[in-house]
């Protein structure tokens, strides 16, 4: 029997409406008790005085690149980066090579994860075969094999009829349908948000409307089909409004936002710096405010990183030739504290919820709670210690981040998966 006692932390568990200083006992990988003065006899002890003890954080949107792009990231390296960022669970998008469009690939990912990952890995299956947008993947088989949602992330389902069928099918399985909302005709050739900045720099723009058109279409289809519909990386102010509207209509609609979309705007990009290039692109300050507002109001219930590793050589090119995406696992908590908590925008409990009960609810995961009987996944983080992000020390295989060298106040201190400490902060 293995036992871990986390002593004297400020335990914040939105799933149990709990926020007070107490202890957490984990036995054989399962949360046993949350209470005062729990006996530490024979147990490993972690002194969490002055720290926040939360259910293990879940990043519902990452790219682990394995199989197929192991030079950029692997399930092992990505999971280590997740642990270093305070995440105990990640959901990996299916745009691997081969695409995760069958039970075989789903099983392969889960098998590799069991052997090499230090955090929980939940695969997301593709909506269409090879994410080509032509015919449906083996969605039910992938669910049986362990897929927790479907998405053609990065390659939105442009054919509305096919999207409708996929939503109907997903609904019958109880699987959430996750869309990367981008009308590919409107965004074609674009490399950053279309606005004054892109016009000044002579870079072809990705208009906000390319996101809005797709969100609008999908919300209509979500109402038609009754499926559980989720908007990935919401970035446009109008899309935030539409999601709030759909919720008010009673639709089963959820949304996530990335830290970079609530921290950075297009004007923050040093000219032609590809570490600021991603999809959806960094938008205008009014969009950043709207995303923040959406997190506050509950229109957006999860923070996800869209961790998208690309090796250096791919980012060392002309801006327009560089691939889209940045890594984000290790900076998510720091950025969220900076922009959401230290500013007083949201409470600590709400912040924890955006990383735990929020995504767990969207995906129907058992994770994200410290109630006795839950998986012994715990994220311990500090609110005030100062640290600087050095991407060159990252366990990720890639270095594409705009946050290298950024100073943070507060961040992850220890990551515990099934009662085992898999990462600890070292100054």
């Amino acid at each position: 029997m293995s036992r871990l006692i986390i002593k004297n932390g400020r335990v914040v568990d939105p799933s149990a409406s709990l926020e007070r200083v107490c202890d957490v006992a984990i036995e054989d990988g399962i949360v046993q008790h949350v209470g005062d003065n729990l006996s530490a006899a024979g147990a490993e002890e972690f002194d969490a005085s002055g720290l926040v003890v939360a259910p293990g954080f879940i990043d519902m949107h990452v790219h682990l690149r394995e199989p197929g792009f192991e030079h950029a990231e692997t399930i092992e390296s990505g999971s280590r980066a997740a642990a270093a960022g305070g995440f105990t669970s990640v959901c990996c998008m299916p745009n691997t090579q081969p695409v995760n469009d069958s039970a075989n690939v789903t099983s392969y990912i889960l098998d590799r994860a069991r052997r090499f990952a230090v955090v929980n890995v939940f695969p997301i299956g593709s909506i269409t075969k090879n994410s080509a947008g032509e015919e449906l993947s083996a969605i039910a088989s992938m669910k049986q094999a362990g897929a927790v949602a479907i998405s053609d992330d990065g390659k939105p389902v442009m054919n509305a009829r096919l999207a409708r069928r996929a939503m109907e099918y997903a609904r019958s399985l109880g699987l959430p349908y996750i869309e990367h909302c981008e009308d590919l005709n409107l965004s074609a050739g674009g490399n950053m948000h279309e606005g004054i900045e892109s016009t000044r720099l002579g870079i072809r723009g990705i208009p906000r409307s390319s996101e809005d058109v797709m969100v609008a279409r999908d919300l209509i289809l979500a109402e038609l089909t009754g499926c559980r519909y989720h908007v990935a990386h919401l970035s446009s102010k109008y899309s935030v409004e539409m999601v709030a509207f759909a919720k008010a209509r009673g639709l089963s609609v959820t949304a996530e936002a990335t830290p970079h979309h609530f921290v950075l705007a297009d004007t923050d990009m040093p000219a032609y710096d590809s570490n600021y290039k991603m999809k959806p692109p960094l938008r205008e300050t009014s969009d950043v405010s709207a995303v923040l507002q959406g997190l506050k109001s509950g229109a957006i219930e999860a923070i996800a990183t869209d961790h998208a590793p690309h090796p250096g050589a791919e980012k060392m090119q002309e801006f327009e030739r560089c691939p889209f995406g940045i890594i984000g696992l290790e900076t998510a908590i720091g950025l969220s504290l900076e922009r959401l908590y230290h500013t007083g925008a949201i409470s600590l409990s709400k912040l924890v919820s955006l990383f735990t009960a929020g995504p767990a609810g969207i995906l129907s995961l058992e994770q994200g709670s410290l109630r006795p009987g839950s998986s012994g996944d715990v994220t311990i983080f500090g609110l005030n210690h100062e640290w600087t992000y050095d991407v060159n020390r990252s366990p990720s295989k890639s270095r594409n981040t705009p946050f290298h060298g950024r100073k943070f106040k507060g961040g992850p201190i220890a990551t515990i998966v099934a009662g085992k400490i898999v990462w600890r902060f070292e100054d």
């Binding site: 279309e194 004054i196 720099l201 002579g202 870079i203 032609y272 801006f319 327009e320 030739r321």
Partner: protein, 303 residues
């Protein structure tokens, strides 16, 4: 990173005035042939053109030679670029041969800015994608000043594919520093509203007659079919609504200057009558290109 000339936007008005004053100095006196100077003797300049160009490349070559520099031109076709070498590797290879400056044209906006972060030698931007073409704006300004004495109080209409034009952007940045009234005109789908916000003093119109009304200078832009990734305007009626014809000239100031960065498409954006008229400064622009590029190369290479 070393100081080159990446664009007009980061320059101050004083910087621009200094370059223009030096360009004036390099203009050959009327009827005289130009003597070769030795200002840049022993210096090597690489002219690296990833996009085809005749006039800009030749103009830089002549400018460099008149200053006594050695200049070597490389075009993308036939170089290692066409063999799949990355931009950074190509440039590193060239830098290892220790040229003193690189003049570069590239189809990607920001390509020279990206390279200047990694390369130790100055880069002169000879046109990057749809971003800037700084020496074009400088030679345009010199051409206007030749005829008008200064840029003060002028009204300049720029007409054509504004969205994709690096010539337009560099001219906007330059003219705005001098308080010039700038009117941008083109089909609405090639005239993004946002371009009115990139500098001060810009007005937008899709009505060519309005644009030309009272203009001191009319700059026509080339219809760049190669930069159209989509059919953003109906090409067959372009000349009818946006082509410069003699009847337009009557709406402008009597001594209006008609300019065009070349190469011109006769009957597409400008009629032959106008292009060859007394009002046309198109060949003066070409001539001034050499003086301006001499001033720029001198500025970049002589500390």
């Amino acid at each position: 990173m070393s100081a080159g000339l990446l664009g007009i936007e980061p320059l101050s008005r004083n910087d621009v005035e200094a370059i223009l004053a030096r360009s004036k100095y390099f203009q050959p006196a009327k009827g005289q042939t130009f003597k070769r100077l030795d200002t840049l003797r022993g210096r090597t300049i690489v002219n690296l053109f990833f996009e085809s160009s005749t006039r800009t490349r030749t103009s830089f070559e002549i400018a460099a030679k008149r200053l006594g520099a050695d200049i070597l031109s490389i075009t993308a076709a036939g170089s290692s670029v066409s063999k799949g070498e990355s931009l950074v590797d190509t440039l590193n290879t060239l830098v290892a041969m220790r040229p003193d400056a690189i003049v570069m044209r590239h189809s990607a906006s920001g390509a020279p800015h990206f390279l200047s972060r990694y390369l130790p030698i100055p880069i002169v931007n000879a046109g990057d994608g749809t971003h800037e073409h700084p020496t074009q704006a400088l030679l345009d300004a010199l051409t206007i000043i030749d005829r008008r004495g200064s840029l003060d109080g002028l009204r300049v209409a720029i007409i054509g594919d504004i969205a994709h034009s690096r010539v337009a952007r560099s001219n906007i940045f330059l003219l705005s520093k001098f308080g010039v009234q700038i009117v941008l005109c083109g089909p609405a789908s090639l005239l993004p509203r946002e371009i009115g916000c990139i500098a001060a003093g810009i007005e937008l119109t899709t009505d060519m007659v309005k644009a030309i009304d009272g203009a001191d200078v009319v700059m026509m832009l080339r219809v760049q079919l190669e930069r159209q990734h989509e059919a953003a305007f109906p090409a067959n009626e372009y000349f009818q609504f946006f082509g410069l014809r003699p009847e337009h000239i009557e709406r402008a100031k009597p001594d209006v200057i008609v300019m065009h960065p070349g190469p011109i498409n006769r009957g597409r954006e400008i009629s032959s009558e106008v292009a060859d008229s007394q009002r046309s400064a198109i060949l003066n622009q070409v001539e001034n290109g050499i003086a301006v590029r001499m001033a720029v190369l001198e500025r970049v290479l002589v500390q």
